[in-house]
Structure formats: structure tokens, C-alpha cells
């Protein structure tokens, strides 16, 4: 017989709101969405499931060219946005190496985070506009450049990647800077004394040492990529054609433009499944690595 300890009860009590929120607002909503994805709900939910045809929304989804494009763009955007991590790392490494002007550069690289893309999207569209923006400007200077990314379906994604890299690189820079500062300063001294070339030091020692920082960045990045919506709306609103659709855009388009709650739900469920398939291994890997790394 064990008496109940107060120190066991109070933290669990404090977690009740969070658990309630998670179960009701998230798990409940996910189940609700899952349920709706089997119905023929249009603008408002319907709760009858036609069991002979429960998968019709999914059938439609798999046949939908827009969905296929969305998935392909998701991968492109993921790979492209990864540049933000690379870029963030390069910036951080340079700022860390050359202390002069650190705070100025830091602030400049961070500010895009503060401004919503809806605001800067307009500026980016202008800059990428062939007759008004950078292309015209550079041609005016006598350089023959082709910068008309937004107009062509096969390059429009680049514009989106550009804007999202621009927006998030500063944030990853901050994380990387923190990671770099966490590296034992004696390692740098040792390498200096050993005369190790800088690029080898970064490549073979520093980057592998910052594994966890990179994983963190990767997780945050994928969170952003999966949910990417604002940047698409701000830059192209899905166009030209459906060439810059991503799953989040697809889902919301199904919900608002198509007024098809059932279809949107099916797309949302698929998004969640993709998330699980892609990120469960990543999370497991992190947890495993951390456990392995812990006793150090």
C-alpha cells in the first residue's frame, strides 16, 4: 500500500489543460477530419458515410493532377528550402569567424522574420517582375539576364524558394550561431595549432559536431515546408496554372474555392500521413542518437 504523493499529483494536474487541448483540439480534430474525409461533405459537414464508396475522396485525390503537382512541389520546396539551412550556416560561420559587425549583420539577417510575407511578397513580385524589377534593372546596366521566374511554370517554384530562403535563413543563422558558440573553443585552438585548413575543419569536425543543431533546423524547416502556404499565396497564388501548388495550398483551396470539406479533409489526412512517414524515422533517429550520446 502506497500513499499517493502530492508531488505526483500536482504536475499531472497542471498538465490537464494541455492534455485536454491536445486531445480535444488536435487529436479530436484529426479524428473528426479523418471521419469527414469519408463523407461527401461539401460546404458544411455531413455525417453520413456511404460505406460502399467511403474512399471516394481519396480516389479523387490520387487521380487529381493538382495533388500530384502539390506533392512534387513539396519535395522541391523541401530541398530548396534546405538551402536556407546551408545559407544560414555559411552566414553564421562567417559572422562567428569575423566578429566585426556581428550585431549589425545579425539584425539585418533576422529582420525578414519579423515582416509577414504578405507584406514583402509584393516587393518580391515586383523584383521578379521582368519589366519593373531586377531583370529590367540589370538589363538596363547592360547585363543580359533572364530572371523571369514567376512567368514560367517550371521556374515559378524557384521564386517561392528564393522568398522562403530569404525569410528563414536568418532564423537558421541564429540557431547555427548558437551551435557554433557551443563548440569548445579549445577545438579551434587545437586545429589552429595543428594547422588544419579551415575548410577541412568545418567539413570534418565542426559540421558533424553540430549534428543536433542541424537536425533541429531540419525539423523546424520541415514543419515550415509542410505548412507552407503564406509564401505561395504571396508569391504566385498557386500559379502559373497549378504549377506552384503545395499540399497546404491544395487543402485550403479545396476547402474555400472548391467548398469541399470532404475533399479538403482527405487531403489533410494525406498531409498528416506524409508527415508521419517522413518524420517518424527522423524523430526516432534523433531520440536514439540523443540516448546514445547522453552518457558522454
Amino acid at each position: 500500500m502506497k500513499t499517493m504523493r502530492w508531488s505526483r499529483i500536482s504536475p499531472q494536474a497542471a498538465l490537464i489543460p494541455a492534455v485536454a487541448v491536445t486531445l480535444v483540439a488536435f487529436v479530436g480534430s484529426i479524428l473528426w477530419t479523418l471521419y469527414l474525409s469519408f463523407t461527401r461533405s461539401r460546404r458544411l459537414p455531413e455525417y453520413d458515410i456511404d460505406w460502399s464508396e467511403w474512399g471516394r475522396q481519396y480516389d479523387r485525390l490520387f487521380k487529381d493532377a493538382g495533388w500530384e503537382i502539390s506533392l512534387r512541389n513539396l519535395i522541391i520546396l523541401g530541398l530548396g528550402s534546405a538551402l536556407a539551412i546551408v545559407f544560414g550556416f555559411i552566414l553564421a560561420a562567417m559572422i562567428d569567424k569575423e566578429k566585426r559587425g556581428e550585431s549589425l549583420f545579425r539584425t539585418v539577417f533576422l529582420y525578414p522574420l519579423a515582416v509577414s510575407l504578405i507584406v514583402t511578397g509584393a516587393a518580391w513580385r515586383w523584383i521578379l517582375n521582368p519589366t519593373l524589377g531586377a531583370q529590367a534593372f540589370l538589363r538596363g546596366l547592360g547585363w543580359e539576364v533572364d530572371f523571369n521566374w514567376l512567368a514560367q511554370p517550371d521556374t515559378a517554384m524557384y521564386a517561392i524558394i528564393l522568398a522562403s530562403v530569404w525569410q528563414s535563413a536568418g532564423f537558421y543563422m541564429a540557431l547555427m550561431l548558437a551551435g557554433l558558440k557551443g563548440i569548445n573553443s579549445e577545438i579551434w585552438s587545437a586545429a589552429k595549432l595543428d594547422g588544419v585548413p579551415l575548410w577541412r575543419l568545418y567539413l570534418e569536425i565542426v559540421i558533424p559536431m553540430m549534428k543536433f543543431t542541424f537536425i533541429t533546423c531540419a525539423i523546424l524547416l520541415s514543419l515550415g515546408v509542410i505548412k507552407a502556404y503564406d509564401v505561395v499565396v504571396a508569391m504566385t497564388n498557386g500559379g502559373p496554372g497549378q504549377s506552384t501548388w503545395v499540399p497546404a495550398y491544395f487543402t485550403i483551396n479545396a476547402l474555400s474555392a472548391k467548398s469541399n470539406l470532404g475533399y479538403a479533409s482527405a487531403a489533410a489526412v494525406m498531409m498528416l500521413i506524409i508527415t508521419l512517414i517522413v518524420f517518424l524515422p527522423l524523430v526516432a533517429l534523433t531520440a536514439w542518437q540523443q540516448r546514445k550520446g547522453a552518457p558522454r
Binding site: L44, A65, A151, N237, G238, G239, G241, S256, S259
Partner: protein, 391 residues
Amino acid sequence: EEIVVYHSWSSGPEVAALNVIKKGIEAKGHTWTDIAIPHDTGSNVNLMNLVTGGSPPNVFMESNPGVFRDLAGLGFGRPVTEFFEEQGITEHLPLAVAKSITVDGEIVKIPTALHIDGMAYYNMEVAKAAGVDPASWTSLDAMFADFQKVSDAGYVPLAIGGQQWQVGYLFHALAAATGGVDFYNGVYGAEPDPAVLDSAEMRTLLETLRKFQEAADEGSANREWNVTTNMVITGKALMQIHGDWMKGEWTAAGKSAGTDFGCIQIPGAKAVVATVDSWGLLGGQSPEMDQAELDFASVVVDPEVQAEFALAKGSTPVRLDAPESALDACSAEVLHILADPAHQVQNPHSMSDADWQNSIWDVVFNFWSDPSMSVDDAIAQLQDNYETILG
């Protein structure tokens, strides 16, 4: 009573027009509480959210019949058939308007402004400089034939913005113009006819659209509609084919119809598409509130108010008996066109299933954006979509 009015208008002419109505209802002893939330064309998610959330507005700007059906399902329907009959309004409405405000046999919308979706507005100076006369075109072919001249003179012949909704509007305007009433209703009606999807008219329509796409300039991609209009106003382009709401732009720029710009319907059009902006009333209210909503309706459709409203907004009055003195050249042209009930169709948003309508936009915009996509591909996609959505 405090009437909560939900809409999506914020630009100068729109606000001026709203103020005309506001004045009217204040005269009836009510107050106006405004919520303006912008939304894309398509269904109005925010309105439905407000309704589900328990704080619905009393009157709202909405055309989509689906929304009205859903509201009725939720117990918020407020048909005004009886009211319109009593007030003797129905008989003064053009056919397109009357059709547009009726859902499942009941009048549920209060029409407030009338537009034609497929009008060509051209810059007269440019036309003169290039040596062409749009008014003389009798067919689209005649129009395309003149484009070379315009290009040679250093102008963009046709201003168009590469955005889904702009292309979508152009498409259905052309559908009416090239395919006629039956074809149009086969595509955009409440119950589309799959047979028309692979008809000769559809092929002509898509081929025509391709010609328009080929005529678009380099900067057209993702260009906003008003920027596009501005190209014509500032004399960079000859003309634009779109809804006649672009008249607002012209008047805002201080230009006047007939001298600075001209307006024609799509050359050789077999039918025209009418867009009716309208209000819905929220049902299930207290008797006082219900009366206030009806007061709102009566203000909106009052002929005097209509005339004033149209003048402010740059639209055409929804009533044929609106005082004519206020009409400009283009509005007169519109009313002239609409006098013929046989050649009118309604804006897709007022009839069509949102999902189906949207899927047409997807296909059309893809077709527009990808020059290598063939007419057959587009038709195949349309048929596919029909199967999944309505089949």
C-alpha cells in the same frame, strides 16, 4: 435596429456606393455596423465561420447559391419572394438578374449591382495611333487580324493578367460569346451536361483561349488585374477584355467613356454573361430585426438608390426602370445588350457548383500556363473532373 453588414468592399467607388445604401437605411432609423473582410472569389468561408461561430451578420454580400442553401439548412434562410411580389419589384428586373437571385424557386438575394463579364474596353488614343477601330470588329477573327497592326505600332494588343481568376473570367465570357446560351449553361449550369465538354464549341472555345494566351505580353504572369487595366489606361496596351467593373478604373483615372475609352461587347458574341452583386438576409431573427432587414432590402432595390449607387460604383442598375439620365455611354450599352433576354446567361458563381466551377478554373489556368497542353488534354481533364465531382 443595428444592422450588421458583411461585405468585402473597401475601394473608393465601392465605399461611396455603400454609403448610398447606408444613407437610405439610416433614414429609416436603423444603424449600420460594418464588417469588411476581403475574400477571393469562390465560396465565402469567413461568412460561414461567423455563422457557425454564432455571430452572423444580418445582411451579407453573397452570390453563391450553395451558401444560401446551406444557410437555409441551418435555419437561417430568409426568402424574399413574397416581399418582392408585394413590392412589385420582380417585373422590373432583367431576366438575367431575376434568374440570378433565385435559388431553388425562391428569391433569396437582393440584387444591388449589375455587370457584364465579357466587355472589351479599349484606349481610343491607342486605337487611333495604331490605326484600328475596335467598334468595327464583327468577329474575334477580325479582332485578331488587327493585332499585328497594333504590335507593329509598339503597343500590346491585349492586356491580360496571368492569374487564375482573370483567365477564368475570360474563359467563361468567351464561352458565352463563342458557344451561346445552351453551351454555356451546359458547362456552368446547376446541372452541367457532360456531352458539351467534348463538343465542337468547346474545341473552338479552347482554341480561342489559346489565341488570347499567345497574344499576352511577357509580363503578364501573375499580374494583378488593376495593373493590367492600367496598361490600357496609360496607353501601353490597346484593350482589355474582362468584366465591365474596369470602368471604375477608368473613371478613377479621370477618363470618360466615349471620348477616352470605348466599350464593346466581345466581337460576334452569341451571348453575354451578367454578374449580379447581391445581398443575402439572415433569417431566424426577431420580428424587429427581420423588419429592419427588409427595410435594407427595400432601400437597395429602390430605383433612385439604384441609379445613385450605379453612378458611384460604375456599375449598371439592376432595374430596367432606373432613371436613365444618370447612365454613361457604357452603361447604356450594357442595358441595351441586356434588353434582349434570349442572349443572357448568369455568372457561374451564381449557378454552378463551386467545386466543379473551380475545377474548370484549374484546367483552364493550366491550359493557359502551359503552351504545350493540347485542347484534347484539356477536354480529357474536364471530363475526368466531371466524373469525379458530379458523376
